[in-house]
């Protein structure tokens, strides 16, 4: 064969090897078996010394400026204290975390920890067996976490995550200055009729629709149902949703139909309009800051988007729509830190001690306060001062229940979103909305054998996700 042909073949072979090498695995070690009796810690000596260990924490990309650097500083501090190296891998959106886990499972990558939202945990990750039951750790750390936080990462009495980030609640941002100028008033406990009167007055005086919503960010629509359903069930919504998911009741019952019709009323009465379907969080913040609306319903974290405004802002509850009911908001301590069953069992002690480290207020605060939130899951980490932080914290502690979309599946959530969008467009009524959601639940049961209490199935074993050995955090 001629020289040039040989050279061409050689180059082709090199190219091929390079490409295939790039497609290769992560190079991580094959994970050890889930249970390693030799690393059990009788007496605890085997778990106290984590120096020389190296662990990996994966999660979605951090959303706030400086947070990556703050995590790195904390990891360095942990290394200085224990000799254990922590590597963080923050990539993609929070909705893409499950894909990260899928890729890890297929490729055999060994990640030791993750930080997961409670929704992801409940909907998919817990029942996949990829996160460890860390109930023993939760019992040791419970005193560091705000009331109810650990329970939001607990399924059937087994805790999968320790909340360590911000807390959230939903409420009504209102331009108090505009209300005062127009001689109007709204205070917590206000009724729907009072809101309608205010909205009508604002429309007459200013020419714009009083209330807007970031409807283009479709994930916020179900929050309307969370609050109206809470009132229509006389503040028993969580129990009723669990019964629905178990198949013990229908969504087409009067309370749910009324809850959907309560949402429809906002649009029929002109308090809101269908333009909200096109507004995202940025649009809504701009409308509010430019005083082109009276207010908007959103998570308290949106105060950061609103920025510094030259008018007074209040943060109120949803209106009371059912006599005798409390206008509950939805929220919770969303992001929790978890130990993965994907990792090396010998690293569990190191992961546990890192979780303890990250729940110290003096470590947690400098990282989490960069989000500018009104409150945090770790006690002793103060909320960032803003016009609404005190009101939001009071709303969170006194009047907030867990988001319902942390219970139901992603399919159910989308059905609720679409049903509400149909109500917004006034194309359907509450009965049709309830029927669509019920039909969707039935479809998930028929097609996917959906079961809310998946942990009761024959294929599930709590032992398979148990911690391989005890870890004494020395608290």
């Amino acid at each position: 064969m001629k020289g040039k042909q040989l050279l061409a073949l050689l180059l082709a072979a090199v190219m091929m090897l390079g490409i295939l090498a790039g497609c290769g695995g992560s190079g991580n070690e094959t994970p050890a078996p889930a249970s390693t009796p030799d690393s059990s810690s009788e007496g605890g000596e085997a778990t106290n010394d984590i120096s020389g260990k190296s662990i990996i924490l994966i999660s979605s990309a951090r959303s706030y400026d400086g947070m990556d650097d703050a995590y790195q500083a904390a990891c360095k501090q942990f290394y200085d204290e224990t000799g254990c190296e922590v590597t963080t891998q923050f990539n993609g959106n929070f909705t893409e975390l499950i894909q990260t886990f899928q890729a890890a499972k297929i490729s055999g990558a060994t990640y030791d920890m993750s930080s997961l939202g409670s929704g992801n945990l409940h909907q998919a990750v817990a029942k996949s067996g990829m996160v460890m039951d860390i109930t023993p750790l939760a019992q040791q750390l419970k005193g560091r976490i705000v009331e109810g936080g650990i329970e939001q990462h607990t399924i059937d009495g087994h805790t999968f995550g320790i909340p360590f980030s911000g807390v959230s609640t939903m409420g009504f941002f209102v331009n108090r200055t505009m209300l005062d100028e127009l001689g109007l008033d709204l205070q917590n406990g206000y009724t729907y009729d009072e809101l309608k009167a205010v909205a009508d007055a604002v429309k007459a005086a200013k020419g714009f629709t009083a209330v807007v919503h970031c409807g283009a960010d479709w994930w916020w629509w179900p929050s309307w149902f969370f609050t109206t359903f809470a009132q229509e069930t006389h503040n028993d919504s969580i129990n009723q949703i669990e019964e629905w998911l178990k198949g013990n009741r229908s969504m087409e019952q009067e309370d749910a139909i009324n809850a959907f019709n309560d949402i429809l009323k906002f649009f029929q009465d002109g308090i809101m309009d269908a333009d909200s379907l096109q507004y995202d969080g940025t649009s809504v913040a701009a409308l509010f800051a430019q005083q082109k609306c009276l207010g908007f319903f959103a998570s308290a974290t949106n105060i950061k988007n609103v920025g510094d405004v030259d008018f007074d802002v209040d943060y109120l509850t949803y209106p009371v729509m059912v006599e005798g009911a409390i206008a509950q908001s939805s929220g919770g301590a969303d992001e929790g830190i978890n130990i993965l069953t994907l990792g090396d069992p010998a690293n569990v002690a190191a992961s546990a001690k890192f979780i303890e480290f990250m729940t110290r207020p003096e470590v947690n605060g400098p990282i989490m306060q960069l989000s500018g939130n009104f409150g945090y899951a770790v006690k002793g980490v103060d909320g960032v001062e803003s016009q609404i932080s005190d009101e939001a914290f009071e709303l969170y502690t006194d009047n907030t229940i867990m988001y319902l979309d942390w219970f139901w599946a992603a399919e159910h959530n989308d059905a609720v979103v679409k049903a509400i969008q149909g109500l917004v467009a006034q194309e359907i009524d509450g009965a049709e909305a309830a029927k669509r959601v019920q039909d969707n639940w039935q479809q998930t049961v028929d097609e996917n054998d959906y079961s809310y209490e998946w942990w009761n199935s024959d294929s599930w074993s709590w032992d398979a996700v148990a911690m391989p050995y005890e870890v004494d955090l020395g608290l």
């Binding site: 064969m1 073949l9 499950i98 899928q102 067996g129 269908a274 379907l277 649009s283 679409k418 467009a425």
Partner: protein, 307 residues
């Protein structure tokens, strides 16, 4: 010399074997890439479509259950309906406007030709993400450019919920897709037009043919291969490559009115973590697109016009 010893091969024979093997060896890298990134995922996806799998736990054999679930799912057929509407509108409008623009630009001594061609082609170079964000803001009811412009020219009564009205939203997205790709198809038609010999037109003019007759009997037949290619690309792209634009602009809403097959497949696979059903949907879409392509091949492509 022993009778059993083999006669040495001639230099000519040794060189022939090497020359025969050489081209096959040269395509091995490309073939490997094709196998790894196209054939294997295709085959694995087909395999997964017969299973229940979430990508996290073990696969469970379901047989044809996923395919039955797909063909009996009203949401899937609604998405397919939107996809067909999308494909037809995009294909027809894009190609008609592209031909008209190409005919315009093909004229001799047209001032500003390069500027116009560049401006028309510019959106092709932008990603769907950029385009989606851009047009989402243009359509914004309060801060967008479109509504104030319409009011300024006296068309304020025709303002609608461009992305919030279920009856309009899909066509708004279609409009953006057409806007993005017009330049690409125009350039292809322009290339085709410039390759048609002027002798045909001169002969037709001598015979007294009108402009429309020249277009119908000379331009269209001579452009047949270009038309076929453009329509095939428009159709197949509209069936499969509309995920980004729909996801950026509407997310499939409002109320599922802009949900197309691609967004539903991605949602089913990655959000609902139902990889089996998602792959089954993909193969149903593949069969549909394949059938459309074969239909076009049989009906639009005419070899005799290439002469």
């Amino acid at each position: 010399m022993s009778a059993k010893s083999k006669a040495p091969k001639s230099p000519l024979m040794r060189e022939s074997i090497g020359d025969m093997l050489f081209p096959y060896l040269m395509i091995v890298p490309a073939f490997l890439l094709f196998m790894v990134f196209t054939i294997y995922p295709f085959a694995f996806g087909f395999y997964v479509s017969f299973h229940k799998w979430d990508g996290l736990t073990a696969m469970k054999w379901l047989g044809l259950r996923n395919y039955i679930n797909v063909v009996t799912d009203p949401e899937f057929w609604a998405a397919m309906k939107h996809t067909v509407i999308y494909a037809l509108c995009v294909t027809i409008v894009k190609n008609i406007i592209a031909v008209i623009l190409a005919l315009f630009l093909a004229r001799d001594h047209l001032p500003g030709r390069t500027l116009f061609r560049t401006a028309t082609y510019l959106p092709v170079t932008l990603s769907y993400v950029v385009i989606g964000v851009l047009w989402k803001w243009i359509f914004n009811p309060t801060f967008g450019l479109l509504n104030p412009f319409m009011r300024a020219i006296g068309l304020g009564n025709y303002i609608v919920g461009w992305l919030s009205d279920e009856r309009i939203a899909l066509y708004s997205v279609i409009f953006v897709d057409i806007w993005k790709w017009i330049g690409f198809h125009m350039v292809m038609y322009l290339a085709g037009l410039t390759s048609i010999s002027k002798d045909y037109y001169e002969a037709a003019a001598i015979d007294g043919a009108s402009g429309w007759q020249r277009f119908r009997h000379i331009t269209v037949p001579q452009l047949n291969s270009t038309i076929f290619t453009n329509i095939l690309m428009s159709m197949s792209g509209a069936f499969t490559a509309n995920y980004a634009i729909v996801n950026m602009m509407t997310g499939g809403g409002p109320n599922g009115s802009t949900e197309v097959a691609a967004t539903l497949i991605v949602k089913t696979g990655l959000k609902y973590i139902n990889l089996g059903k998602a792959n089954a949907m993909t193969f149903v879409l593949f069969l549909f697109t394949f059938a459309m392509g074969m239909f076009q091949l049989k009906t639009i492509s005419h070899d005799e016009n290439y002469e």
